[in-house]
Every structure is written in C-alpha cells, then in structure tokens.
C-alpha cells in the first residue's frame, strides 16, 4: 500500500466507513481470545507452589500493564501525526485512546495492589515500577483533563498533542530517575517466576493469549470511541451552526 492510500483513512467519512466494516470482526476476535485466555489461565493452570492461586492475577495484571504503556505510545504517535499533517481523525484517536489507557493503568495498579498484599505484605510500596505507573496515571489524568477543559477542538488537539510529546520525554526521564532513587521489590517478584522455568511455561501460553485479547480489545475500543468522537464533533459543529442562524 502506498503512503497516500494510507492517508485517505484520515478522512473522517472514509475512516467511519472502514471502522463500521472492521469493528465487528475485531470485537469478536477480542472477545474470543480474552474469554478463552482468561478461562484457560484461571481454571486450567496449576497453582504456583510459592504464590498459590494469587499467581493467576498475572493474566490480567501483565496485559493491562502492557496496554497502559502501549496506549500512551499510540497517543504519542497520533499526536505527532496531528501536529505534522493536521488530520483530525488522528487527534481524535489520541483523545479516544486516553480514557482506555486510564482504565488499563487503574486495572494494573489495582491488580498489582491486590497481588502485593499477599506477596509483599503491603498494598503499596514505593517500588520504581509501581511509582512510575503512578506517574503515568497522573500523566493520563492531566491529558484527559486538558482535553475536557478546552472548548475549541482544534486548540484542544494542539495543546494536548504538545503535552503528550513533552510528557513522554518527562515520563521517560522519571522512569530512569525512579530507578536511580529506589531499587525496589517488583523486579524480584518477577524473577522468582522465571526461576521455575517449567511453571513459567505453563503460564506463558495462556498469558500470550490474554495479551493478544487485550490488544484486540484495545484496538476495538479505540475504533469505536474514535468513531463516536467524530460523530460528536460533527453534531457539535452542526448545532453551533444552527444556533448561529
């Protein structure tokens, strides 16, 4: 596919049509792999001899943590596209992805906390990974709040895009800084899993299925929400037009 053909999807109409075609398939695939992976993970894997049945949280925790980070990356890319090529769909896709990212971050934080209680004897510790996730959560909050605060959609797209780019740099810096500041518990926990090679194997296949399910779910939700944003944008523009007479 040449580049120009790809950019055609930046047209809101074309995008909406394509989404309507693709969305059902992606949704079904997401559902199947998610349900399959979770059932497999929860009911057809043995308990870990150290962590007991709590180990099964991994099937939600790890995919959601991965998606929380990937969602931000996607927003970074679409923000850059908006700033450079000024395609509205791109900006709206970033807007659509942010709340999903927030939910993923929250799920990762919550499952981590629930896991941490039996494993580390505390709901929360200032471990580098946990801390940088908390910071990521704040970035997400700020990003969404900035979108909400601005009436003019183009202004909002510009400002949030710049925030996303600057934020990414600082998120990266924080990750490094936090590592420097505290060595933490989280790494150890994941290593203890790796030691039991065979156990890890038993867990890894359903985990991959779950990860695939989360990715598909994310794609489906972003498509859906971007389409909604396009419709909302159009309704708003038309209403405003009408009011102007």
């Amino acid at each position: 596919m040449n580049m120009n053909a790809l950019w055609e999807y930046a047209n809101p109409v074309k995008f909406s049509r394509t989404v309507s075609l693709v969305l059902p398939w992606v949704s079904v695939l997401a559902l199947v792999s998610l349900v399959g992976g979770l059932i497999w993970g929860f009911f057809f894997t043995p308990d870990d001899f150290r962590q007991g049945s709590t180990v099964k949280i991994i099937f939600i925790h790890v995919p959601s943590a991965m998606m929380a980070i990937s969602a931000w990356f996607m927003m970074l890319v679409t923000s850059l596209i908006w700033l450079i090529r000024r395609h509205h769909v791109s900006a709206l896709a970033a807007k659509a992805a942010a709340p999903i990212g927030i939910v993923m971050t929250l799920i990762a934080l919550a499952t981590g906390a629930i896991w941490g209680q039996p494993m580390w004897g505390t709901w929360w510790a200032w471990d580098p990974r946990l801390t940088s996730f908390l910071i990521l959560f704040l970035f997400y909050l700020g990003y969404v709040a900035l979108w909400e605060a601005i009436d003019n959609p183009d202004t909002a797209a510009d400002l949030t895009s710049v925030l996303c780019i600057v934020g990414s740099v600082f998120a990266f810096l924080s990750r490094y800084a936090v590592n420097f500041w505290n060595q933490g518990l989280h790494q150890g926990a994941s290593l203890s899993l790796d030691k039991e090679e065979n156990v890890a194997d038993v867990f890894s296949t359903p985990l991959y299925v779950c990860i695939a399910g989360f990715i598909l779910l994310f794609v489906a939700l972003v498509f859906l929400r971007t389409r909604t944003e396009i419709h909302k944008r159009r309704t708003k523009a038309l209403l405003a037009r009408e009011r102007l007479g």
Partner: protein, 218 residues
C-alpha cells in the same frame, strides 16, 4: 525584552505574588512541619533535605498561575503577542522573572530554613547547590504548564495536575543531591543529572511554551 523583565519584577514587588509569596510559603512549610511531624530533631534532620526540596517545589508551584494569567486577563498578553517581541523571548523572560522572584530567594534563604529543621552541617553546601541547579528547571517547566493552561477554565487545577508529574525527575535528583550531601556521600551522578535536566529544559521547553501560548491566544 529587558523592559519586560523589569516590568515583571516591578509588578512582582508591588503587587505581591512574587518575592514574598514563594518565600513565605517556604517558611510556612518548614515552620509547620515540626508541628505536624513532632519536634524530635533526629527525625527532622533525616527528612530535612526532602522537606526543604518539597517546600521549594510547592512554593514554585503556587506562584505559577500568575505567570501568564494576570497578563491574559487584562489583555496585555494579546498586546504583547502583537508587539515586536518574539514569543519565545516573552516566555523565557517570564520564566526568568519567575525564577528571580521565587527560585533565587529560596536558594538564598534555604540555609535559614535548614537550620529550623536541624539539617546536618555538611548538608548546607549541597542543599544550596541542588537548589541553584534545580529551581531554574522548576521555573521553566512551570512556565510551560502556565502557557498550556492560560485562559482555560479549571486553569489552576489543571496547572498543578499537569506540572506535578513533570516535576518528578527534578525533585528526585534534587532531593537526592541534598540528602546524599547531608549524609556525606558522593553526589556526582545526581548533580550531573540535575544539571542535565536544567540545561535541557532551559534549551528546549521555551519553544514548546511559545507554541502553546500562541495556540491559546487564538
């Protein structure tokens, strides 16, 4: 450019919100900490570098929304945007004025506050070094946040929310320098990191700030 700096400093002095505000907030934090935490000086000494850095950061944060908000409300910002000054220059001067009215007084006054929190002797030097290196970054980052939120509803809330995570690396390295200094450990790495962050933000962020400010003026 110079005249803008002079005007801002003059305004800060006349109208409050500058010089005094940051300092008095710093004072509030350091004076109230013993009331909250209890007066044992061993405990205080242990948390002193962190609390002092935190106080400096909060004092900066507090005065951020005045950087552009006042000029926006009375229309000066529109007039400045149509003036011969480049927007990048305006933003840099604003950050500089903020630092001169908040960061610099904090650096100068920090030894006194260190005394209040029983900071160990060898810590003073490094506390000042870390503040001198770190507070410019706080001002520049804050100016970016202020430019992002100028004229927006929920400006104040948003500003703190947006700036907070951006402040984390500076705070970590700054407090680390101060803490290691107080404990007599080597401070080379965090000092270098802190200096790097400051240099990087000062060199690059004004462009982003000018960009978003122009967008916000539309």
């Amino acid at each position: 450019m110079i005249s803008l700096l002079i005007r801002d400093l003059r305004l800060a002095m006349r109208a409050g919100g500058g010089f005094g505000l940051g300092l008095s907030f710093f004072l509030i934090v350091t004076v109230l900490v013993p009331f909250g935490v209890g007066p044992e000086s061993a405990l205080l000494a242990k948390i002193a570098p962190g609390i002092l850095w935190l106080g400096a950061l909060l004092a900066c944060l507090l005065s951020l929304d005045r950087i552009f908000a006042l000029d926006w409300e009375d229309g000066s910002l529109d007039l400045l945007a149509t003036s011969p000054l480049p927007m990048e220059g305006v933003v840099t001067v604003k950050a500089l004025a903020h630092w001169l009215t908040t960061g610099l007084p904090l650096c100068l006054a920090s030894p006194v506050f260190g005394l209040l929190l029983s900071l160990p002797e060898q810590g003073y030097k490094w506390l000042i070094v870390s503040l001198v290196l770190g507070t410019p970054a706080l001002s520049v980052i804050g100016t970016f946040g202020a430019a992002l939120t100028v004229g927006l509803k929920r400006g104040g809330l948003l500003l703190s929310l947006l700036v907070l995570p951006l402040y984390v690396p500076t705070l970590i390295f700054g407090a680390e320098v101060a803490r290691r200094g107080a404990e007599g450990l080597t401070t080379t790495t965090p000092v270098l990191m802190l200096a790097g962050i400051s240099a990087g933000t000062i060199a690059l962020l004004p462009f982003a700030s000018a960009l978003v400010l122009r967008v916000n003026l539309r």
